[in-house]
Symmetry: D2
């Protein structure tokens, strides 16, 4: 079903932006696992709105509650339900959108699909707020992966055409990547980060928005993870990433640029490392061949569109009166959501990889 | 499971490149549907090897047999099993690969995953040959979509850096696209097509290979198709596409380039067409917003890597002796698989969209 | 996953007997459906403990809250989350069971499965309390079935060897069955009901418990509902029923007694009714042949074991000290759970049938 | 989907009684497993028609072919496709049934469901012949269970009211049960077996049929197998068993008779065996409590209806002319299918238990 993801480690999310609450049911973990309360709250904090000049001013503490599944700080085998109560709901801001669909939002297709019965307040269940449950489940998964020596790190690869420092796909600098997680603006090169933030604020000044790209690197994966065909690493990750609002493309390794290369350039030759492990001297495949991990770093980039909500006047259609109408969106919105998407992408990655590990019998259930 | 895809229209594929046969079980169609024998055989012909100078010389007639599910030319409600017997198997060509993994093939991660028990002949179940069952199921699905007024058309968007003519994302020229399906080399602009073929042959001369991109346009979709979050149009299509060997990236609408735009440029304004239908004056979203179709053409591009098998000597590791070794691949292979992937992508698209239509109750079951 | 059931109408339950809350996520309903708040609360009331002399004295108001999915009294297309907060938790009653497994409870196998980390308080997620979420989802489903003219009615078929009045499987008396729903003790023949209650109280007096059987009749089903083989009506219903604690057997139509009959007796001959509909003059199949509904009343009986918790001293093993030990269960428990299981069985039946209707395209999504 | 069963060990069956072939795709086994060709063929032989005076005279050799998934006698990680070609098809025998539905067969509800397009020859995909693929997959699964020390044994518990010798549910006589597998008529007590066969022949003489019950005992299961609620051992087994044609009821342990007992009788007290393992001194639960195995023998009984096809004249309705009509079934049919169902039940049991073992991480994938 469309609100569930995963096969052996499985999430079901619920809620709308302005419902009583949003939450997630997590099924598939063994009993006796330490519940990383603080790590989950910290991950939520990374995603939370209202912290920066360039984020929405919606003020949510995003403190979560455990509804079930945890006893004495450990999993007990029952499904884990984690919930965040929605506090700061200014639902009246959205009153006009039931007949004036916002360009680039789901308003119009949702109006047709749900025959006008969908929740328009704050984007309903199409809201980016629905990624908070993902972050809760993802940071729980991530904690388990770390114990297996698997590390997921992301950085803002680009805001508009301003790019961060490049990561070596063969030997990524893990120390630098680890530091990125602690930063308010998650880039490797802080000078480029300042330029990116300037671009975001410039767009905000002009009541406009900007997009960007996020790059993710996963190290420590065993060789041969993933299944052929429809449970391949790429299939599962791509499926999950397109469940995040605003994502418009995904590529692995050299990705789209691979289509410009010759086979002799793109093929990654095998060699024996000094410790006798088999590696590839290049990593154009981004750590995945035939859907299976190669043991090299898994590398993935996603493209994020500029925020749909902008303060400029836009043309739309009045659904009640079947006529054109100018629309100026009120409410609170981020001029750029890329920084806040970073922990969501890491969470989704953790969810998919833990699912594949359990499926492969490489994680004790 | 990893060899099945789809929820309400569901396929399960079986076989290996050099197994007795390859085939597909199709479940979820109502009884009484005409079985398009000729359309399926024609679609297989588009994918078949051995036809062009730039395709593999493996000679397979790819005639399929009906094992079950069809009575008097119509579906009977039982699962449909369609099978192709493998004839031209030169398995000895592959004898060395059990200990000499080919760069860019699944050989090495599969060796680890399956502890050496996988079928190395012809790539086993990682072979591109596993896409023939997809084409059978997909052309069956496509036939049903055509009856619903839904048309799926693809063209080679690029071979290396040589690009085909651009498609108007708002008003695609359907006549031109329909003609592409009849061409041996599926491009809109035949001059560009000749340049692309020259590039392929040049690579072949140098025992090398090239990659490219395929663009797909779907027209006639109802508004509001797809589900929020994990059964979104993009999630389902991306999942399916990464089940096709050699695909390295996917984007919808303006895709990765959207990350370079401002919201005021990327947002697609709504307007009322002369027939009072609601449309967008641009189509940067490629016909999908919030996971749901907008009624505008659905537009998707995938990146395909250069063929992994090349005739040049490559460096690899001897798995038995744990030492470096040069490898020169024998056997038959395409210097470019992009043209043969085109019907596979169309098939996968048809499979996903029919599944979503059934899920939405818009197709009678 | 083990806490989810259904394919197109799908539930995911969460909670434990003494967790903060228990609840259910419901996915798969179209938008715009009226939410039957009162019907759900009434159904919960039928299942609620603490009402009768023969039920547990645990005092729960079982008032539920809507967490998501409902806007202005209608479904909005988002997943529906309904929750009941657990109030009356006397967790100390259960302190001894972490090392003294109660006979006939899941304590011991759960101890092994979860390596001692499961929630022992109130039976944790094995508790009968986990059926309250089922009743919420089921009464929502039931409300929709009623609108389609499908009626689900159950009665206590037997307590120990005391049987209720027989239902005519060909022409059940629907008026009488409808009245049963309003009764505190749901039987057709109230004299038999009094005898049953006397048997329950007699067992209670002796610190013992009794079991029984529940019979369910569904009328108004279309012909041909269900799928062959693994989504047959019986397969889906049986699967769901064995998710209810304490159920030990299920049979359809004449059931186990059919094994004593000859084919000439058991076969149900077809005839044309006065309104030209095709019926069977007997209904040994209980309205299902080959997994598909025949249009005759669907008839199902389940066997319910005597309550596991009894006040008598029982022999068990001390898991900590690996020695035998006598156990006397404290806490509150029903001497017979059969009456409280009746609404749960009706709910599960409604859930399965709505799922099959949606799957068959006979319910608008 | 309705032709697939299992989550981690998953089957998809195809075919109809008179299609070109019947077969099964098996997904979820690791590579490197020995393929038990002979054991599978032997299991098919146990199910095969045409051997006894009391079985159908349809003459099928039921020799199977491997289509994929096996290389050098071992699994290779690709899906395993096993197929049986249908040879002895007397399709003309069935010509009348497209308008004269046979009582107790799926003909009429299938006619409505499939609007007349279903395959009537030999019962199409509702035929008992669809259990041959199950036996192939099941004996493969069973072979793996035996290596884990898990043994599944069944006997004919009753034909009509003639019962076989009782099995001790606490300490079943495994030697006797193992011998039953070798018998043409699988009972413990051969005298009772002769009486049962006489009853079958007596029914045959009178152009009639008889039903019966099959009891299954599984030993060697680990404690704690199964999941709570919807993947409980009983839920999964019951789901699977009702995918076998002609099954009308299922019960575990003392089953329906448990409803007549008091808790003090039915509860199984724990004790420490001489080897310090925890056991129960009675086994009314049939080895399953709360959906989880207890380590005691798993005991299950299913009720099988008398064969639907009988030689006597029966009343039905002519679907074309909407009038009553007498029907006398031609063709070949068993007066009792109980003996042939025995290996099917064992196969289904093996399939479910292997799935649960993989799900629990207790079988290496």
């Amino acid at each position: 079903m469309s609100f569930s993801i995963g096969q052996n480690f499985r999430l079901t999310v619920y809620g709308q932006s302005h419902a009583a609450a949003i939450g997630v049911i997590i099924d598939g973990l063994p009993a006796g696992i330490n519940f990383p309360h603080q790590a989950i709250q910290s991950a939520l904090e990374r995603r939370r709105p209202g912290k920066q000049t360039w984020t929405s001013r919606r003020s949510e503490s995003d403190l979560f509650e455990i509804k079930s599944g945890i006893v004495a700080g450990k999993t007990c085998g029952a499904p884990i339900c984690l919930e965040i109560v929605n506090h700061d709901k200014r639902s009246k801001d959205y009153a006009q959108h039931d007949h004036l669909p916002r360009p680039s939002h789901a308003d119009y297709p949702a109006y047709v699909k749900y025959q006008g019965h969908h929740d328009i307040r704050g984007g309903g269940h199409f809201s980016g707020r629905m990624t908070a449950p993902i972050v809760m489940a993802g940071s729980l998964a991530n904690n388990l992966l770390i114990e297996e020596g698997i590390h997921i790190n992301s950085h803002i690869y680009a805001i508009s055409d301003i790019k961060d420092q490049t990561i070596d796909p063969v030997q990524p600098d893990l120390d630098s990547l680890a530091q990125v997680k602690e930063k308010n603006f998650p880039v490797l090169n802080d000078d480029q980060g300042l330029a990116m933030q300037a671009a975001i604020l410039a767009a905000k000044e002009e009541k406009d928005s900007v997009g960007g790209q996020v790059e993710t690197v996963v190290t420590g994966l065993p060789v041969g993870l993933g299944q052929p065909l429809y449970d391949s690493c790429e299939a599962k990750l791509a499926h999950a990433m397109f469940g995040i609002p605003a994502i418009r493309g995904i590529e692995f390794g050299t990705g789209f640029a691979a289509s410009l290369m010759r086979g002799s350039q793109h093929n990654d030759p095998y060699y024996l490392d000094t410790d006798q492990t088999i590696k590839t001297s290049t990593n154009h495949h981004g750590g995945v061949i035939g859907g299976l991990t190669t043991g090299m770093p898994l590398i993935m980039r996603v493209a994020i569109k500029p925020t749909s909500s902008i303060g400029q006047s836009q043309q739309t259609v009045n659904l009640d009166q079947s006529c054109h109408q100018e629309l100026t969106i009120q409410g609170r919105h981020d001029p750029c959501i890329v920084p806040r998407v970073v922990p969501v992408i890491e969470s989704m990655t953790a969810i998919c990889l833990l699912d594949l590990l359990i499926m492969a019998g490489k994680f004790p259930v």
